[in-house]
């Protein structure tokens, strides 16, 4: 077993009485892409900044390549950081920006130029080397920031919400681009994001954070179908929460809730899924599907409001409309059982359940 | 204060921290010595002072030339500031909202009194208005001070006006307000911080002015800073220290007013752009 590229041991960060990061332990596997995922104020950016050396942890240790780097200033860590704002030097050309790191390492001028060219080649911007940053589009600036971080041949590449300032199309394009660069260079990458789609699509390993703590981590394929608690489930887009007859909590995604005619026999649940009687409250047309809002009684006897995606092309039975009595089926394989000690507040999944007052998280 | 600066800064930036502390010492320490010597019981300007007393404050307040000059300077500063705002705000409106050619040139013209050395302007006014046209010195001072404060009025209120969205006034018109009503109820309130800043800045500039006022003094109407300057040059006693301490105290009051109304640092934001 190799040493992790970086490791956080019992790391905390407190600002006065506010705890931004609460004694976390984290290993960053070498040569993989790890995402830190969570709502704003969860401590993900603070964690990244401690890893990069921009703020010292209040307690705990940070190891890079197995060596203690807790007190090492950022310029001695050799980590390539891409800032959310890109932080390109406006008074230097693109080439000078990229060559800045090698210059600080006293690399001779010719070699610096070669390395900068190489890094710009990798991000496909070699032809813009003589421009100033403000003559570039947002997407191009982002690539320059990446090239600049790569040109120092960093031990880790750290990306702080790298795609949040790009428009939707470009963002999707850049996800693939960053993955390509990661696999071509074999770099260890740590990426901070609040976008679960981004994390799912890009990560080898995803780390979910909430209120300064790690709530769940693992490969997307393992985490997504089995959220540990209600918070993770909500964050990953599970909209429907039920209490089962035995008191356990379960979550199911709208696309897995099937709307069937009211006279469908309960035998359909032979696979062990749950069948509920429900009334349709509202139907919203969304092009590819219908978003059906329903009211039902869950197995524990509580009234619950549920959402179902009803795809006209694959679903059987008549199209539901408001006021219809229907039967709902949640297949057993699609039920995510949540841990009982879930402390998530019953708020909408998109809003941060914790106070987002962390000073360093204001922009994330 | 420099202790705080040194503790926080010197540890992390040794050179910059030391320079910063030196800068603060030069800026602040002489002022502190003025205050300290004002409370002396002795009759010479020396440090440490010979005992403590308020005697020089009493003498400063009882010294008629000083008190007359305070009244004169206040009159001049208030009138010049008011006049500069009254003339300057319409100019700002014309420059920022009007449809006239050569706006840049016009603004430059109104800022030009900042560029020519004040002593030179004072010489010009003395020669041309007081000697040439035989204007009395108060009128000349008022003309000169008002012209000197016009740049502040135009630039500082202009900065406020630039922040005010012209669509607001249009919206008020659409809701039924007359042009004048729209200006008074919508635009003027948005100019308020600029007006206060320009007013305070103008008042302080006029009240403290030496170079422009220097040649425009007569026995009947003298301004305070020039009176104090002449007194210091002739006799070297702690009365001026006491008078200076009183001016300092009044300035602190102005600074507090500035902080409470528009924020201290913002007032100066407008000068250098």
């Amino acid at each position: 077993m190799t040493t992790p590229a970086a490791e956080l041991v019992g790391v905390s960060q407190r600002f006065g009485s506010f705890t931004a990061v609460d004694s976390i332990d984290l290993q960053i596997p070498r040569g993989r892409l790890t995402t830190l995922l969570g709502p704003s104020g969860c401590g993900k950016t603070t964690t990244l900044r401690m890893l990069a050396g921009y703020s010292a942890p209040t307690s705990g240790r940070i190891l890079i390549d197995g060596d203690d780097a807790t007190r090492l200033p950022p310029e001695k860590r050799n980590l390539g950081m891409v800032f959310q704002s890109y932080a390109l030097f406006p008074h230097m050309t693109v080439a000078d920006n990229v060559a800045y790191g090698p210059k600080m390492r006293k690399v001779p001028a010719a070699e610096r130029r070669r390395r900068a060219g190489e890094a710009l080649e990798l991000v496909g911007l070699a032809h813009l080397a003589d421009r100033k940053p403000k003559q570039l589009s947002g997407g191009q600036q982002q690539r320059v920031a990446l090239a600049r971080a790569i040109a120092i041949r960093p031990r880790l590449l750290l990306l702080d919400e790298p795609l949040s300032n790009l428009d939707a199309r470009l963002r999707v394009q850049m996800r693939a681009e960053i993955r390509r660069i990661q696999s071509e260079t074999g770099l260890t990458v740590v990426l901070v994001t609040h976008d679960q789609d981004e994390a799912l699509e890009m990560s080898d390993e995803m780390v979910l954070m909430r209120s300064g703590k790690i709530v769940q981590s693992g490969a997307p394929r393992d985490v997504f179908p089995a959220p540990a608690d209600r918070f993770v489930a909500e964050f990953l887009g599970y909209e429907n929460f039920l209490t089962l007859a035995d008191g356990r909590q379960a979550a199911v995604r709208p696309e897995h809730l099937r709307v069937l005619p009211a006279d469908t026999s309960a035998a359909t649940s032979a696979d062990g899924g749950i069948v509920l009687d429900a009334v349709v409250l509202d139907v919203a047309y969304r092009g590819v599907d219908l978003l059906v809002t329903l009211e039902a009684t869950d197995p524990a006897g509580n009234a619950v409001r549920l959402l179902a995606d009803h795809r006209a092309d694959t679903a059987t039975g008549p199209t539901p409309s408001a006021g219809d009595r229907v039967r709902l089926l949640a297949p057993e394989a699609r039920l995510a059982h949540l841990s009982a000690d879930s402390t998530a507040a019953p708020t909408a999944p998109t809003t941060a359940p914790t106070a987002s007052t962390a000073p360093t998280e204001g922009i994330s | 204060m420099s202790a705080v600066m040194s503790r926080t800064a010197r540890l992390r930036h040794p050179v910059a921290g030391t320079l910063a502390v030196a800068g603060y010492v030069v800026m602040i320490v002489p002022i502190l010595f003025v205050v300290a010597t004002a409370f002396t019981a002795g009759s010479t300007l020396r440090f440490p002072p010979d005992g403590l007393s308020l005697r020089w404050f009493g003498e400063a307040v009882a010294y008629t030339p000083f008190m007359e000059a305070v009244v004169s300077s206040l009159q001049l500063a208030v009138l010049a500031t008011g006049l500069a705002l009254l003339l300057g705000v319409p100019v700002t409106l014309a420059i920022h909202r009007g449809k006239i050619p050569g706006k840049g040139l016009l603004e430059g013209l109104f800022l030009s009194p900042l560029v020519v050395p004040e002593l030179v302007v004072g010489l010009a006014l003395y020669q041309q208005l007081m000697i040439g046209l035989r204007l009395d010195n108060f009128t000349t001072l008022l003309l000169g001070h008002t012209a000197l404060l016009l740049p502040y009025a135009v630039r500082v209120t202009g900065a406020s006006l630039a922040l005010a969205d012209p669509a607001l006034e249009e919206a008020a018109r659409g809701l039924g307000a007359s042009p004048l009503r729209a200006f008074v109820t919508v635009t003027l309130p948005m100019l308020r911080p600029g007006l206060i800043s320009a007013g305070l800045l103008g008042f302080v500039t006029s009240f403290n002015n030496v170079p422009l006022s220097l040649l425009l003094q007569t026995r009947d109407f003298r301004t305070l800073p020039v009176t104090m300057l002449d007194y210091v040059q002739q006799s070297y006693d702690p009365m001026v220290a006491a008078a200076s301490t009183l001016v300092l105290a009044a300035t602190v009051v102005v600074a507090i007013v500035a902080e409470r109304t528009v924020g201290f640092a913002k007032i100066f934001g407008g000068i250098n752009r």
């Binding site: 932080a87 120092i152 | 003309l143 602190v252 201290f264």
Partner: protein, 273 residues
């Protein structure tokens, strides 16, 4: 706003500006009382060849340059520490740096008489400690003028540099550090070049202020350390030599315009580079 109403708003201000500033300034150059422009030019020619007058010009320029350099060297570190500090003290320290701008120059300069005078703080300290037998002559020296002017114009340098530093994204410092630059290296390669336009403006303001200031050379330089400003006053008020006064005023104004022009060119070049 129509052109005619804009013009109406402009006219009163424009009239005042002309009477209180523009016309007298122009008239003074070309038509001092009882003197022709040719005589003014002749006097100026004499001034530029006379060793005594040249000495005063050179002293003025020299003091201006030294004060400018000191204000930048002391002011920029203060500005960058204040702009980058997260301490709650930085607001207080900023206010402390700005406050002197509100305070009378006479009061501020008077402080140096207490510090540098023959019975002053430094003299007492040196003789008291037995370092020297007799207090050295500190007042009425070039050093005294330099100290006084640095105190006067350092706040201006601080606030001008402060707004320049505050506009530089702190993320750029961090990016430079992350790429391997030490604190010092990041300061010189990122913060200084990006704040340069502000530094140039600060230097220009300080230089223009220093070569035209009157109070400081009058109180701290005395008659032995004449500068252009004190010389101008003496021509206009003591010897009443209008040709010489106008000639001095022209030299002073040209000096200020020259430096402003150069700094505008430098600024423009920096903006396009």
């Amino acid at each position: 706003m129509r052109a005619r109403s804009s013009l109406l708003l402009l006219l009163p201000g424009l009239a005042f500006l002309c009477v209180g500033f523009l016309l007298p300034a122009v008239a003074m150059l070309f038509a001092p009382p009882g003197v022709s422009f040719a005589q003014v030019l002749e006097r100026m020619g004499a001034m530029l060849t006379d060793p005594y007058d040249l000495g005063i010009i050179w002293r003025t320029v020299r003091i201006g340059l030294i004060v400018t350099a000191l204000c930048v060297v002391l002011g920029f570190p203060i500005a960058s520490l204040l702009a980058r500090s997260q301490s709650r003290w930085s607001g207080v320290l900023l206010a402390l740096a700005i406050f002197p701008l509100l305070l009378s120059n006479v009061v501020r300069t008077f402080g140096w008489l207490v510090v540098l005078g023959s019975n002053g703080v430094i003299g007492q300290l040196l003789t008291g400690l037995g370092i020297v037998d007799e207090a050295p002559q500190l007042l009425y020296t070039e050093l005294a003028i330099v100290l006084g002017l640095v105190q006067l114009f350092l706040p201006l340098a601080v606030i001008t540099c402060y707004s320049a530093v505050a506009q530089v994204d702190p993320g750029l410092d961090e990016a430079a550090r992350g790429l391997g630059a030490s604190r010092t290296r990041a300061f010189w390669s990122v913060l200084v070049p990006l704040s340069l336009p502000g530094i140039v403006v600060a230097a220009t303001l300080v230089f223009a202020g220093s070569v035209t200031a009157y109070t400081t050379p009058y109180l701290l330089g005395g008659s032995s350390q004449r500068m252009l400003s004190t010389q101008l006053f003496s021509y206009a008020s003591v010897t009443v030599d209008w040709a010489a006064a106008s000639a001095t005023a022209i030299v002073m104004t040209v000096l200020v315009f020259l430096v402003s022009g150069i700094s505008t060119l430098v600024g423009r070049k920096g903006a396009t580079a």
